[in-house]
């Protein structure tokens, strides 16, 4: 049955589909044309290049088109589109429309494609002789990314997920009754944006991070093009700027994510080793390592295979992290992974292809290349019929070995071994430390993937191994039911702390070492000042902040040295010349990040200690939450803190918490108010967000861990009634008040009571309710005789949570029977609060900014120098 739906805007969906198809087709055209241009002779080359550029520009325009349409339908709340319905609603403030855009996977892929296209257009202008080969690879990546938005079915497989699908055509909803109604749109509101993403960091963190992701593609494309064209050494020069641009942007993006977690999440810190955070940190580490090895090569001409490896692995790790966070594999281990849209197979395929590709290009000998291509094709065919994870893993391993092996063979040179005091040797060591650190994080983050691999056949092997040599490790591997480390922070810190220490030491001495060989006496002459200063400050900070753990002290020393040594180098050696200072500034920044995270995370203090609560025993030695009753004042650290009630504003409930300082005479002086809030979101669940007071030296972070929201809704939570027989002047005690029967009122003004008729007989009992804190109120329940029936008109005192009924008069004994109920919850509001002091967090943010500025400065100087030399030539 065809239904004429009312109020739909189908044109925009069609426009969106048109642009999606165009972006895919145009990117495809660009790939073909650029490959042709690469192989074509001089005469035809330009024609193909022109076609390639045309294709890519068309592709870029199509992406702008998709983005414009998606924004248009989001802005206008066209809830007939599933993406709009899923990620926005009418209540939401407009400034978060950007967050809606990239909340979904489709939007985030779009963002990624967008940055790739922008950067690629810059590359077209700058790449010169590299254009054909590099752009062929970039365009191929764009074909894959564009396919993620297609949403078509191909032989039973779903390719991509369409952001312009109609709600009533989406598989999850098409059979629901409400979409069968022609007017279903008339009062449809969207599901809304995840409350956690309604934060200003979420409008800038994803675009920055994805720009960083995009930036990893270009060094990769240059390196791969270098292998393809046989220009094994020449790619380093043009790729260097891209690499350091990527380091700067990706690093900034990661730290912005940390800032968001710190501001909006209740992690109680800026880094929690969450799998999603790790997934973006790991490629950054390998890219930093790769960038430095490229620098070694530029200055010394060796370590090329390592540079290839690191640059390849960076891009592959970006793809891998996309796979991890979007395939649903992390579902049970991470808080903010995307849910699966059925694209994991597709993502995996692209990942495998890009791991394999370098091997196909790297083999020089034509016959060997043919053999390898045939083997690969056979393997692909076999995999269609017999899918084995183990076989795929083995195949990939062989690919990597072939790629690196043949590169190594072609680059074999008789270079001398680096001197043990040379800068390149220690830079290389630092790069390896970063690589090893990245490996550790990847491996620990990948437990769900390892489980899948193990259950694909390896577990039997480990069961057998465990039979021979029984250890806990083998037993666990045989079970293939590994979960994340039960204490992830401890697990990661115990490995990463030593790496951070070594890295910081190498950053400190690195600039003072010379290429080839260092003059040792001169080295010590230049380094002693910073060495002395950092030792001095380590002692001062260590004593002042009471840091006793040796490894923490060592990290403090090493990172302070990194800061001082680079500052010293900038002032004394570079004489404060800014254009040369890129590396000094970024290394100072990195050192400050380490110092800041050590102090803020290592010395964070929970001031909300609960002194009254019962201790649960040895397993649970510390209490970090405190119960704050309304208007009670509680000591927290150096402050006195009072909860002043809540106030609702839209869908937020703010809990107002006043912080007081104690004067010497004991009086309290209000310092500031913090209002952490809970966002009431019936669709997504209620979310508590912290409030933080920023000082120069420290932050005070306040977070509501529990507020009795549920009890507020139920107004009729009364305890069981109790009956009392009283004479005038008698007193009843309830749990938080006393009730005195002061007298009997017979001359009631019946007109004042809606429930009373003129000819009823009505007698009131005058009750005085006095609360413990002294306020008193009068309530009058009424005993009524109407015709032959008797009933009570109850009276209540809401404030003290008392309700009274008057149901019997005994004239002989002169007693009056009252029925008293008390509120279930004596109407005392409370919240449970966690308050943490983070010292020195501003050191961390300062370091982040310096690192970003320093790396960008280096890139800018490099580009300027290049354009100068090209102008001169």
């Amino acid at each position: 049955m065809e239904v004429d739906y009312i109020g739909e805007h189908l044109f925009w969906g069609q426009a969106g589909h048109f642009f999606t198809a165009l972006s895919f087709a145009a990117a495809f055209l660009a790939v073909i044309a650029y490959i042709q241009a690469h192989y074509a002779g001089l005469a035809e080359k330009n024609q193909w290049l022109k076609l390639g550029r045309l294709g890519f520009r068309l592709h870029t325009l199509a992406i702008f088109g998709i983005i414009a349409v998606l924004f248009y339908i989001l802005f206008n709340h066209y809830f007939e589109y599933q993406y709009v319905w899923q990620h926005s609603n009418t209540e939401m403030p407009m400034e978060y429309i950007l967050s809606c855009f990239w909340e979904g996977q489709e939007g985030s892929f779009l963002l990624w494609t967008f940055w790739n296209a922008i950067l690629a257009n810059i590359l077209i202008r700058t790449a010169a002789s590299w254009e054909a080969s590099v752009m062929a690879i970039v365009s191929m990546v764009q074909v894959f990314l564009a396919s993620m938005l297609l949403g078509i079915y191909f032989g039973g497989y779903k390719i991509g997920s369409d952001p312009f699908i109609l709600l009533r055509e989406h598989p999850d909803f098409m059979n629901l009754p409400f979409v069968k109604s022609a007017t279903y749109l008339s009062n449809l509101d969207g599901r809304g944006l995840n409350p956690l993403l309604q934060n200003y960091w979420m409008t800038i963190h994803p675009p920055t991070l994805f720009l960083g992701f995009s930036a990893t593609l270009f060094p990769f494309a240059y390196a791969l093009a270098g292998v393809w064209t046989g220009k094994l050494r020449e790619w380093i020069q043009p790729a260097l700027s891209w690499t350091f641009f990527g380091i700067s942007i990706l690093g900034t993006g990661i730290l912005m994510g940390g800032a968001w977690a710190y501001e909006a999440l209740s992690f109680g810190g800026f880094w929690a080793w969450d799998p999603v955070e790790n997934a973006s940190l790991v490629p950054w580490l390998t890219m930093v390592a790769g960038g430095h090895v490229m620098l070694i090569n530029r200055n010394k001409g060796d370590s090329l295979v390592t540079a290839f490896f690191l640059i390849f692995i960076t891009f592959i790790l970006i793809l891998y992290s996309t796979f991890l966070t979007r395939s649903g594999v992390l579902g049970e281990t991470s808080v903010h992974a995307f849910t699966d849209l059925g694209m994991s197979g597709q993502l995996l395929l692209y990942l495998l292809l890009f791991i394999w590709l370098p091997s196909a290009f790297a083999i020089r000998s034509e016959t060997k290349k043919k053999i390898w291509l045939i083997v690969s094709a056979l393997f692909t065919i076999i995999s269609f019929f017999y899918f084995s994870k183990l076989l795929i893993a083995a195949f990939l391993l062989v690919s990597i070995i072939i790629a690196l092996g043949s590169l190594n063979k072609q680059l074999k040179s008789e270079t001398e071994e680096e001197h043990a005091t040379s800068r390149e040797f220690w830079m290389f060591v630092a790069a390896l430390v970063l690589l090893v650190s990245a490996f550790q994080i990847t491996f620990s983050t990948s437990t769900p993937v390892i489980n899948k691999m193990l259950s694909g056949g390896l577990s039997n092997f480990f069961a057998w191994l465990n039979g021979i040599w029984s250890t806990e490790v083998f037993a666990k591997m045989a079970e293939a039911k590994l979960a994340a480390p039960s204490d992830p922070i401890e697990h990661y810190n115990s490995w990463q702390l030593p790496f951070a220490i070594i890295t910081a030491f190498l950053i400190a001495v690195g600039q003072f070492l010379s290429y080839k060989k260092t003059d040792i006496p001169r080295f010590f002459k230049r380094i002693w000042l910073s060495l002395f200063l950092s030792a001095l400050f380590t002692v001062i900070i260590g004593v002042f902040m009471n840091i006793a753990q040796p490894l923490y002290l060592l990290l403090l020393f090493a990172s302070l040295w990194a800061v001082f040594a680079n500052a010293d180098y900038f002032i004394r050696v570079l004489k404060g010349k800014i254009p040369k200072a890129g590396s000094s500034i970024s290394h100072i920044g990195f050192g400050l990040i380490l110092v800041g995270s050590l102090i803020s995370a290592g010395k964070k203090e929970f001031i909300s200690k609960n002194n009254t609560a019962v201790n649960l025993g040895e397993d649970f030695p510390r209490e970090e939450n405190v119960l704050l009753a309304l208007n009670d004042t509680v000591a927290m650290g150096e402050y006195m803190v009072a909860y002043r009630g809540d106030s609702a504003k839209g869908i937020h409930i703010y809990y107002n918490i006043d912080y007081y300082s104690k004067n010497s005479d004991g009086s309290l002086e209000k310092q500031f108010r913090l209002s952490p809030f809970i966002q009431m979101n019936p669709r997504m669940g209620n979310v508590a967000e912290p409030a933080t007071k920023h000082f120069l030296g420290r932050d005070i972070f306040t977070h509501v861990t529990y507020a009795p929201l549920e009890k507020k809704k139920t107004k009729n939570g009364w305890k069981e009634a109790k009956d009392f027989e009283l004479q005038i002047g008698d007193t009843i005690f309830t749990s938080n008040s006393l009730i005195i029967l002061e007298g009997i009122k017979k001359d009631l003004d019946k007109k004042a009571y809606a429930q009373l008729n003129e000819d009823d007989i009505a007698v009131g009992a005058v009750l005085r309710v006095m609360s413990i804190d002294g306020n008193s109120r009068e309530i009058i329940p009424i005993y009524v005789i109407r015709n032959s029936s008797i009933f009570s008109i109850d009276a209540s005192d809401e404030k003290n949570g008392v309700q009274a009924g008057f149901f019997k008069i005994d004239p002989d004994k002169e007693t009056f029977s009252l029925r008293i109920r008390e509120k279930e919850d004596p109407n005392k509001e409370f919240i449970i609060l966690k308050a943490i002091v983070f010292p020195g967090i501003n050191i961390l943010w300062t370091g982040s900014i310096l690192m970003a500025i320093g790396t960008l400065l280096a890139v800018w100087v490099r580009i300027r120098r290049k354009s100068k030399t090209s102008h001169a030539a």
């Binding site: 991470s334 060591v429 620990s444 649960l616 397993d619 929201l709």
Partner: protein, 140 residues
């Protein structure tokens, strides 16, 4: 032997150490019965909240004690005590992952990961994590 070979050996040794430490530190998914068999070991238990039984939470007495009944995937029900505040909306949870140890018949949880249903879309619920009071992990 070249220096680079020594470095290579160190790197490989480190990598093996990391792999082993990951396996040693990693906890295991298990049922209550398996957890009961090894009471000294940490486990992840996946299950559903028994919504018919009362959730015990009396913040006036102790803000950091929350107890509930969980049915694991084998159908075994156990009382779970969590040393922390009751997660907001816990009643609405669809699936719960708890981390901790069995103590006699009670599971002492120090982490709760819960999945709330979203009203319209099955299978895409939001995951939320709640940690207990850490056992002095950051003291210097």
């Amino acid at each position: 032997m070249k220096r680079i070979h020594i470095i290579g050996i160190v790197v490989i040794a480190l990598a093996i150490g990391m792999i082993l430490s990951t396996f040693a530190d990693s906890s295991t998914y298990a049922s209550f019965n398996e957890a009961l068999a090894e009471p000294q070991k940490e486990f992840h238990v996946v299950g559903e909240l028994n919504k018919d039984k009362e959730l015990e939470y009396n913040p006036e007495e102790n803000v950091n004690r929350f107890a509930f009944y969980l049915v694991d995937r084998e159908g075994t029900e156990r009382k779970v005590i969590f040393n922390g505040t009751k997660p907001q909306d816990f009643e609405r949870s669809e699936q719960v992952v708890i981390t901790g140890k069995m103590n006699e018949q009670v599971f002492m949880a120090d982490k709760i990961l819960m999945k709330c249903p979203s009203k319209y879309n099955d299978g895409s619920g939001e995951m939320k994590e709640f940690k207990a009071e850490p056992a002095a992990t950051t003291s210097l």
